[in-house]
Amino acid sequence: MNRLIFKLEKRLTPSPAMVFIIPLISVLLALLLGAIFLVLTGEKPLTIYALMFEDSLGSKYGLTETMVKAIPLMLTSLGVSLAFKMKLWNIGAEGQLYMGAMAASWLPLTFPYLPVYLMLPGMLILGMIAGGLWALLTAIPRAIWKVNEIITTLMLNYVAILWVDFLVYGPWRDPKGSNFPITAPFAEAARLPGLGNSRIHAGLFFALALAVILAIVFKYSRWGYTINVIGSSERAARYAGMNIKRNILWVMFLSGAISGLAGMAEVSGIIGKLQHGISPGYGYTAIIIAWLSKLNPLAILIVSVLFGALQVGGYAVQVEGVPAAVATMLQGAILFFVLGGEVLTNYRMKLFGQKGEE
């Protein structure tokens, strides 16, 4: 009896064409899946998608909002990509962002009358150090006892978010804030300048500069080479005399510091105070973005804008009575299909007939 069977054959090198085609097909499939869901809930998917596109990329206001969302996504994605490059699975960007925001807020709340040339650099440094130290908390046990960083970074997210909640509900709450969980507004000196009159702030330049720096580090630098070797084979790295522990500590610290910078940019550039729920999960979306971009810093910039648009589009359709969670669902679906498609970049599918029984 003849029967057809599939067989996956490992490719020696990932197929270059697939590297580009897969994400594209994944996005299309995710949209298709979302459409099925929308039809089932009685909506017209094309109308919804058109609306999402219109309100995120099709108007000046939409574009601005998209960029506003893209900035923290870019920064946190760049942060985690640095750790991912060394196969350190830092999924704590969310917590590192919160700690960065918290430390950056401390300065204007405690010394409201600092001049701008002390205030902004001070907030920047504090935010980065706090995010870095928060990540370092997990890097130390990882380096010494090989404690799984996935668990520790994830757990510390909850600690950081609740810690900020404690502050804004408690000691840092603005007495004049009619009981809202917010701090007093920052002084003007503590606000990152915007682009013209828009809400797009100078955080965008941090992201652009960092992307260029990381691209150079990954591709041309001695340190990037070390990270690459350690990430590819720890045993080979040790054999080559590389200091693995020291690199784990540094990479995690810097990865956290970049996410901390995202937090600082958020409170200083957008909100102007510290408050409950400053991030709608940027740090988690960052993981998806870093993965979709294959840890390529320049790709991260583009993918972040797309995900920013998805988020803004999600808010826009709420007006139509469609839950904003549609956007979140699409994000999840895209990642799902990309990971599934990964098989095709690394394996070749073979279809062949087989005679009789094995």
Binding site: N228, R235, A236
Partner: protein, 515 residues
């Protein structure tokens, strides 16, 4: 003479490029302990995997109690009463001992109460002296106890033939002694025990019959009473072809490497090097012979700074380098070609450019304070690949696509080009074809002519006798022999490798631990 329990006739097993078993016969009788002896790669494990139903033979027959059987899976083999205990245990760590033993047994656990099961297992254990706590979780057990669980599991499934793959490799001498006592008892009860090993002293003490394999072929069968170390070695090793290389006989220089009573442990924390002492001189190849697992890897790692020295000294040109960092030792001129070419010596996913600067990427030649000098890196790779005749289609392709011989050439190119004072190579030609082997050997001889001290660790006596100026033997973490190559006798070296001349009895079998 009683009837055979198992007969293998003319078993052939091919793997891509290798004939692992070439018409091998084997005959196992009930109540005997039958050793399968041979060097690494001689086809012992393959043959046993065929018998246990893991591999399908490309030719030959398996007869159980005189009836031909075709095994499609290990389940079929188990149904015929053949059970195998692998070197790496196949146990579910978080489960209890009892759960592991009954795992995969279908159709009984539902109605048979736990109590009955446990009573059955306990009864089995008592009969053979294999007592274990059935309620313990497997991860809590020592290696010896885990092995006992595996054996009981096979007995529980009704195995009449028990195959053990190098069972003592992971055991302490006490545990090994205990195991042998238990195996005796099983044989006495009518089971057949098949022992895969390359340790002669174990065979001498426990086996009733020995089948020796060499390079995939049956080399001979020794009956009880014929079993002695000398006979086994000559079957295992065969005859060595005369030296083919022109040996450079220029006088050697001063001592470069000296190990002075070095002690170190293996990955499991068991003592591996026991007061290892040796020295290698400038322009000399010391060929260190030994059956793998006697401390070779640990010794190489100790020298390279990758393993902690517990006591004793490692001296490089009279400087104590024990427990210095790997980087410092590299910079002092120690090159090391490890056993695992791909994964330690070379990074599989990186390309040739990147792999060729693995050890010196930080030097001013290849990088500034921040950036790598990509042109210098490329020039380096181009030169080395040409000079060492590495066949490679692109310098930017991950090295994992290269063949074993080209990987080894690439690795040697990097290590040799650092002009080392000392080169440590371990099993340099393992798995390579004749052409690649010769190329590797030529490179080592050329390095020697540049006054480098070379420590060549190998289990291939042919290789050692061809290349070495001096032959050393390592057994159980100690140097048990050291001769100039002209005075080294192949058989004597072979015997020393298996510990036969060693005064120490490693395993005491005469007294079973408990009755």
């Amino acid at each position: 003479m009683n009837q055979s329990l198992i007969q293998l006739q003319g078993i052939v097993k091919k793997f891509p490029g290798v004939l692992a078993n070439d018409h091998v016969d084997l005959d196992i009788k009930p109540g005997e302990i039958h050793a399968i002896l041979g060097e690494n790669g001689s086809g012992k494990s393959t043959l046993m995997c065929v018998l246990a139903g893991l591999y399908k033979p490309d030719g030959g027959k398996i007869l159980v109690n005189g009836v031909e059987q075709k095994f499609r899976s290990p389940r079929d083999a188990i149904a015929s009463g053949i059970g195998m205990v692998h070197q790496h245990f196949k146990l579910v760590e978080p489960f209890t001992v009892a759960e592991n033993i009954t795992l995969g047994e279908q159709g009984n656990s539902f109605f048979l109460s736990n109590k009955d099961l446990k009573a059955r297992i306990n009864e089995l254990g008592k009969r053979y002296g294999l007592e274990i706590n059935l309620n313990a979780k497997v991860w809590q057990l020592s290696v010896g106890e885990k092995q006992r669980v595996e054996i009981v599991r096979m007995l529980y499934r009704g195995s009449k033939v028990l195959i053990l793959d190098e069972p003592t490799a992971v055991l302490t001498p006490q545990e090994a002694g205990e195991l042998f006592g238990n195996l005796r008892r099983m044989a006495a009860a009518g089971c057949a025990v098949v022992l895969i090993t390359h340790k002669l002293n174990e065979v001498e003490t426990i086996a009733d019959r020995v089948t020796v394999l060499r390079q995939g072929k049956l080399a001979g069968v020794l009956e009880h009473g014929q079993i002695n170390a000398k006979e086994m070695v000559s079957l295992m090793v065969g005859r060595v072809v005369a030296s083919k290389y022109d040996r450079d006989s220029s006088p050697v220089g001063g001592v470069v490497l000296e190990l002075d009573k070095v002690k170190a442990s293996n990955d499991m924390g068991l003592p591996s090097l026991r007061e290892m002492t040796l020295c290698v001189r400038e322009g000399e190849i010391l060929g260190l012979a030994g059956v793998s697992g006697n401390g070779q890897r640990e010794m190489a790692e100790v020298i390279a700074g990758l393993r902690h020295v517990e006591s004793g000294k490692v001296l490089l040109n009279d400087r104590n380098i024990s427990n210095l960092s790997p980087r410092t030792i590299i910079d002092l001129g120690v090159a090391y070609v490890p056993e695992d070419r791909l994964g330690i010596g070379l990074v599989p996913d990186l390309n040739a450019l990147e792999n060729l600067i693995l050890k010196n990427y930080h030097q001013p030649e290849y990088s500034g304070r921040w950036l790598l000098k990509s042109q210098a890196v490329e020039r380096n790779a181009e030169t080395l690949v040409k000079q060492y005749q590495v066949k490679i289609s692109s310098l930017r392709q991950p090295v994992k696509v290269l063949s074993g011989g080209n990987l080894q050439k690439l690795l040697l190119a990097r290590e040799i080009s650092s002009s080392p004072k000392l080169m440590v190579v371990i099993y340099p030609a393992r798995g390579l074809d004749i052409g690649a082997t010769e190329a590797v050997h030529k490179l080592l001889l050329e390095l020697k002519s540049h006054k480098t001290a070379i420590l060549l660790i190998s289990e291939d006596l042919d290789e050692i006798f061809k290349l070495a100026d001096r032959v050393g033997v390592i057994f159980d973490g100690q140097l048990t022999g050291d001769f100039p190559v002209e005075q080294a006798d192949l058989e004597e070296v072979g015997l020393l490798m298996t510990g036969s001349c060693s005064a120490r009895e490693r395993v005491n079998v005469d007294e079973p631990a408990h009755i």
